[in-house]
């Protein structure tokens, strides 16, 4: 392993060509080990003496040399400014996402959640790190492993769990379930592997069209990265310099298929070929934040798209029905959980830098858990949607623009839409 303090390969390799040869150069430094992005969640560094007393006063954190790997790109800065308040918030967010996923796990096992349920346990640093680098006016689209993103984009725990439970006050009014959640600046929650990627490019297209300074994050998995339309999206995005960060969440498996059995090139950050790429330690929320902040600025400057690879790991099975142990060893899972956990990693750093005391940290833990638990309890008490034609046929079309009627299972069940003015407003989910 390269020492944290070893000179970085890229500093001695200024040309793009030499950068591309990064691994070779690294090999020269450490002959036995191929240099690659770490998944150590506790690899950032800050001087205790630099950490201010105030919660909102910025201080510097240095990321590990192994936080990034670049492709045709000058790397982002390895230092980032943060505050104690932000670190605490990031920690809180990751704990809350995990707690919510654990609640989903329990509810599924209690047979209260139907169908597919894909959890992001282990991958929290990606959703949380991204949100801390963008603004509410930016945009994000992802696949079905979406609960954490929905929450970070502003969905309440009660509305997300309510959706999983198929309740009327769920984030999609009980129509979408686990895989389909939407919110401001959040375009789902999409079930067809890869399809969200060109859609994400289209969201970026609209931003550029309307001359807005916003970035769009289009996320997909290592499995999804092989879909043809991902490459089609790359081409258009580069052709038209769209402000989009394509982001492969490489959690090493697409269902039961290891990345190297599905992908001819597993360097997903290089998959854009003519698009600069960045591989990121996706277990370190600070690295994710730094990378996305850099990408947002890149896009704002009109430099076109980027292809990111967040190296991460899913602790559970692909979905609740997959034990997740037939195609990988228990040791592998155990190793990632015990040594690379994003929450434990940040926790360790916060204690080390004396950002918080043990007691303060425990208090944050408790606060996050209590909040999630309370929200889950509220969700469990939400009513299911009324089993009426009004609710069933609601929202197939935009209110007021519906056809005269839609057909039921038999003509007697046909639903005739009332005149738009006769309808009361739809209750908003919060």
């Amino acid at each position: 392993m390269l020492s944290r303090f070893a000179p970085r390969a890229f500093t001695a390799a200024p040309s793009a060509l030499a950068r591309r040869n990064g691994p070779v150069r690294a090999a020269a430094l450490t002959p036995a080990v191929r240099r690659s992005v770490t998944t150590d969640a506790a690899s950032s560094h800050a001087e205790k003496s630099d950490v201010p007393a105030e919660d909102d006063k910025p201080f510097q954190v240095k990321l590990s040399d192994e936080a990034f790997e670049t492709y045709e790109l000058d790397p982002p800065s390895y230092t980032l400014n943060t505050t104690k308040a932000e670190l605490k918030q990031m920690y809180y967010d990751m704990v809350a996402v995990r707690r919510m996923e654990m609640a989903a796990d329990r509810l599924y096992k209690e047979k209260k959640i139907r169908g597919f349920c894909h959890l992001s346990t282990g991958q929290e640093a990606v959703a949380v790190g991204i949100e801390h680098a963008i603004e509410k006016t930016d945009h994000l689209i992802t696949a079905y492993r979406c609960h954490g993103f929905a929450m970070m984009r502003g969905g309440t725990v009660r509305s997300i769990i309510g959706e999983l439970l198929g309740r009327r006050e769920g984030i999609a009014y009980g129509k979408g379930g686990s895989m389909h959640m939407f919110s401001t600046g959040f375009y789902g929650g999409n079930g067809i592997v890869g399809a969200q990627v060109p859609v994400g490019a289209g969201i970026a297209f609209a931003q550029k069209y309307e001359e807005k300074p916003n970035v769009t994050l289009a996320l997909y998995g290592d499995g999804a990265s092989n879909q043809g339309q991902v490459f089609e999206a790359f081409n258009m995005a580069k052709l038209w310099d769209l402000p989009v960060i394509f982001g492969c969440e490489n959690n090493k498996y697409g269902m039961g298929t290891a990345a190297n059995r599905s992908s001819a090139l597993t360097d997903y950050y290089k998959r854009g070929q003519y698009i600069p790429g960045l591989k990121i330690n996706g277990m370190d929320v600070l690295a994710v934040k730094a990378a996305v902040a850099f990408g947002k600025e890149w896009c704002r400057q009109g430099k076109g798209p980027l292809v990111y690879e967040y190296v991460t790991y899913r602790y559970g099975g692909h979905s609740m029905s997959d034990p997740g142990t037939t195609y990988r060893t228990r040791e592998e899972i155990q190793r990632m959980r015990s040594t690379n956990d994003p929450i434990a990693g940040l926790k360790q750093k916060m204690l080390e830098w004396e950002v918080v005391t043990e007691d303060e940290l425990k208090a944050i833990d408790k606060e996050a858990r209590t909040h999630v638990d309370e929200e889950v309890a509220i969700a469990e008490n939400m009513a299911v949607p009324d089993a009426t034609p009004e609710v069933l046929f609601e929202d197939i079309y935009v209110r007021g623009s519906e056809p005269q009627f839609l057909r039921g299972r038999i003509p007697e069940e046909n639903y005739y839409y009332p005149e738009a003015k006769e309808k009361g407003p739809k209750p908003l989910v919060k």
Binding site: G194, Q227, M255, R409, I410
Partner: protein
Amino acid sequence: MVGQRLIRPAAQLLRSSPSTMPRCSFQKIAQPTLSRCLNRTYATPSGTKEMTVREALNEAMAEEMEKNPKVFVLGEEVAQYNGAYKVTKGLLDRFGEKRVIDSPITESGFAGLTVGAALAGLHPVCEFMTFNFAMQAIDQVINSAAKTHYMSGGIQPCNITFRGPNGFASGVAAQHSQDYSAWYGSIPGLKVVAPYSAEDAKGLLKAAIRDPNPVCVLENELLYGLSFPMSEEAQSDDFVIPFGKAKIERPGKDLTIVTLSRCVGQSLVAAEQLKSKYGVEAEVINLRSIKPLDVEAIVKSVKKTGHMMCVESGFPSFGVGAEIIALTAEYAFDYLEAPPVRVTGAEVPTPYAQKLEEMSFPTEALITDYAAKLLKV
């Protein structure tokens, strides 16, 4: 008919190409079984054994792979994971990685690739994890597979089987629960089957693999785990079910219920309820094959009953039910004592919440009640 085809110059050219071989062997194998199958009514209880639809599909593939080295299976998670729904369980161990192949998640790509392999003379079984994902690849299924034989003037056959679960699945919302029977059923050049029982599954899949044309086998996830009796005959490795022949699952004189796939089971339950509640006898016709469609069986039954109700779970507009009603009107109008009717899925993207989902698909109670209404009992 085959003889006639062979005097065409294009067909002459094909003689030495690998693809003529399967065509002949298909004809040879299919003929005797076809007649045997038609004579069969109900399986003799002796020698029957229970088998799930999943096992039947698995057996069909294994037998065809055993018989014909040109047959291979390709799809997502079909090999090492034994299939997302375990339909291909054990095939990798038995036939090796040359013939049981895990593909990346690239439906359009691997559908196109398997079509290419078929054009070049292999007999691929292309598994879609579900037909919802085949929408990514429908261009290859229709434009590359279904139309090529005709576009080439009969020079280029495409012996491929597309299979996977189709239609209703529970609790998975709009993008994972759609019925594509009508979509594929409308395409000339494709054959489309939808098995209900284990015998259907085995016989239709084997026939699909042997058929020299592109065939879509539309299975249903909720049927995979159900057990059905397999007759001694169906247990044979030469058992195939001819396309375009419906099966009368339950004879009756008062009402013809034309149905397919999972709705066959629901209709059979409804038929029993109709009998116990109202004393009427519904005849339940399991279509088995959507294209070609057994119009004769429908007409024959309607002649007897005077009433036709189609039960299917797709969207109603331009659907299987619409087609069956149209055919009934075209060919059996004179025998009808009441307008033909249909019970279908509702015109709504599948909702997640259970109670709403229940309102979107045919249920046994709805079939029973609607039949009673039609019969005015």
